[in-house]
């Protein structure tokens, strides 16, 4: 198991370097000067420009720049925003909020998605199954930002069940509605994935064996069918953590959540390149780590994988 973990960890290293290099390259090495953009396109005093170039290491060759960027990313020395705040401090304030939001959305997806998916899969073709399928299709088709506005309007404003926007400290209870919106599309995918996987495994030989040796229906479903059906679902949930962070841009914008998505979006609109590169670098780290966890969960769900 240790070897397995280690090998998977090694495989993720090129992904991390590649993705950060890609972002860095896109932001700093494409036509259009980020330093010129800093001054809003107006001419800049040569001394100021040179100082800014030195500050962001843009006077160095590209590979040196990238190496320094990685070093700064790892040591959390991320530079300053335009308003003079440390980027690491701004991220440090925003990250826990988005982490709370994403964890809630992920839990919501995993619990309800697997629950409805199992029931629909076991009753394939029945009324409940068709209803869930149609509902999931509609949820997938309606864009997140429309769902967000509609739920904000109906639940937040008209019914008054939740606060329509989130306050600065972003406590758990205020994040329920945004988390719901954030997780809803993925919830639909989890339901469909679980349903397909369950109905595929339901007729497998080992399920017949388990039933034949007299196990209760509950045990057959939970221990035998579910565990074997969860692998594609776990993959999806792991990959989705990165998607949730990206999707948070829209959701956090609608509900005014002071998280990473909001920070990133404002940074992009203001052209705050150092913040953008730093935040995206952090997101890539999260994505890579989430994939590692997924790989480990694989091995736990299906011991055969460990020996491959």
């Amino acid at each position: 198991m240790v070897m397995f973990t280690f090998r998977r960890f090694l495989q993720l290293i090129p992904v991390f370097f590649g993705a950060t290099l890609l972002v860095y390259f896109l932001v700093f090495a494409t036509p259009g000067d980020p330093i010129a953009a800093l001054s809003g396109g107006k001419p800049m005093a040569p001394a100021v420009e040179a100082a800014l170039r030195a500050q962001y290491n843009l006077d160095q060759p590209f590979w040196v720049q990238y190496g320094l960027y990685l070093k700064n990313l790892v040591t959390l020395n991320l530079g300053q925003t335009f308003s003079g705040q440390e980027v690491s401090a701004v991220i440090g304030r925003a990250y826990p909020v988005t982490a709370r939001l994403a964890v809630m959305a992920l839990a919501f997806e995993a619990i309800f998605g697997v629950f409805f998916g199992v029931i629909a899969g076991l009753r394939k073709g029945k009324l409940f199954d068709s209803t869930v399928l149609v509902a999931s299709l509609v949820v997938i088709a309606v864009p997140t930002f429309v769902l967000g506005f509609v739920l904000q309007l109906v639940i937040g404003v008209q019914l008054g069940w939740a606060k329509p926007t989130v306050s600065g400290t972003a406590p758990w209870n205020q994040l329920i509605l945004p988390a719901l919106v954030l997780g809803l599309v993925s919830l639909a995918y989890v339901i469909r994935l679980t349903r397909a996987s369950i109905s595929e495994n339901m007729n497998a030989d080992y399920v017949r064996t388990a039933t034949a040796k007299g196990l209760s229906r509950r045990r057959v479903v939970v221990v035998h069918i579910l565990r074997n059906s969860l692998i594609p679902v776990v993959t999806f949930l792991g990959a989705d953590l990165g998607g949730l962070m990206g999707g948070a841009i829209v959701t956090e914008g609608i509900f005014n959540v002071p998280g990473i998505g909001n920070l990133l979006y404002k940074a992009i609109l203001n052209g705050e390149t150092p913040t953008v590169v730093a935040v995206v670098g952090m997101l890539v780290i999260v994505f890579v780590l989430a994939n590692l966890v997924v790989d480990l969960l694989y091995a736990w769900l299906d011991p055969r994988i460990r020996y491959v």
Binding site: G18, L137, A141, Y265
Partner: protein, 337 residues
């Protein structure tokens, strides 16, 4: 007999041994082999050997024609395409002629869905917005099919170091979510200053291809050692020709399914980018732009936001339903169950 089985009585009355009458079947099993004179040899001879047996596609088409899901989605897509090509047939009001006097007015005759804050006709803008969304969806899907398809096919077919490199490359692009990647590309000065349908397409293709590449790679690997490929190679076809003539056509089914569903998600992605203000330029009439413009009024006048959203959702839904129907039709194994 049945009351004896209840255990709480505790009686150990010996169960009368039931003589098991081994049921030896008295039936004579008939092996029906028709005698030669009754064998309809004429019928066998009459089978037309020249008719081609149904291919996967013909079989799928026969199955699809009977599926309500397919019929509904195909008709909807047809409608959307027609609206995109000739929007003038469906709306007679110019979507760009707006009078501020009508600002946020409700429906009236000739203007069934009311007016936006700028006094533009909501219905007309909804109709004219179709073209931008569909163009982005179709061209992004084409681009993704070309890049992802080539990458996936080469990686799956040749394997080895090429596969390793291409798979890692796909992983790298996969590590950035589609929307996030597209935002980063769109905010580059080069893209930000030349906003158009094509910048959005390029941004989405750049981060959308790994999915198709993975699907293609899997399908090609499944087929590359199939008997018919071996036979083609044994008959002297070069490996590359075998890939193009035999492996690729036989791997198309899952790719088409995923492409149809992704077309829907690309339309959503375009709308999301436009909604965030970094997608299509504001001069282009699009659902995403209209929803974005309507968001400030969502509490007073939600219908202005709702109508483009409904059009968007129905379009996306029809492409996803088409993909679902195709998946069922193109996978004969799943269909039999």
């Amino acid at each position: 007999m049945s009351e004896n089985l209840t255990p709480d009585k505790g009686t150990t009355e010996p169960v009368t041994p039931v003589t098991r009458q081994g049921k030896i079947s008295s039936r004579t099993i008939e092996h029906f082999v028709a005698p030669l004179e009754e064998t309809p040899l004429a019928a066998v001879d009459n089978v037309d050997e020249t008719t081609v047996s149904l291919s996967l596609w013909a079989d799928a088409w026969r199955n699809l024609r009977k599926q309500p899901l397919f019929i509904i989605s195909a008709l909807l897509i047809l409608l959307v395409v027609v609206v995109a090509i000739v929007p003038g047939l469906f709306a007679h009001v110019d979507p760009t002629s707006c009078t501020l006097a009508d600002s946020a007015e409700g429906p009236r005759s000739g203007h069934p869905l009311g007016f936006t804050l700028q006094g533009c006709d909501v219905y007309s803008r909804m109709i004219y917005g179709t073209r931008a969304s569909l163009t982005v969806g179709i061209f992004t899907t084409l681009g993704v099919l070309i890049i992802g398809g080539i990458m996936g096919a080469l990686a799956g077919y040749y394997g080895g170091w090429l596969d390793t490199i291409l798979a890692r490359l796909a992983d790298i692009f996969f590590a950035l979510p589609l929307i996030l990647g597209a935002i980063i590309i769109n905010q580059l000065p080069l893209f930000r200053d030349n906003k158009s349908v094509w910048t959005v397409v390029i941004a989405l293709v750049a981060f959308g291809w790994p999915q198709i590449a993975r699907i293609t790679r899997g399908a090609v690997i499944e087929n590359r050692n199939a008997d018919f490929v071996m036979a083609a190679k044994a008959l002297g076809l070069s490996p590359f020709r075998a890939l193009m003539k035999h492996v690729v056509p036989n791997s198309l089914a899952p790719i088409i399914v995923v492409a149809s569903i992704s077309l829907g998600t690309f339309i959503v992605a375009e709308a999301t980018l436009s909604f965030l203000g970094i997608g299509l330029p504001f001069s282009v009439i699009s659902w995403g732009n209209d929803i974005s413009a309507a968001q400030t009024q969502v509490r007073n006048n939600p219908s202005v936001l709702l109508w483009p959203a409904v059009a968007l959702s129905i379009t996306v839904l029809s492409f996803i339903m088409l993909g679902d129907a195709l998946r069922d039709a193109l996978d004969p194994k799943a269909r039999k169950r």
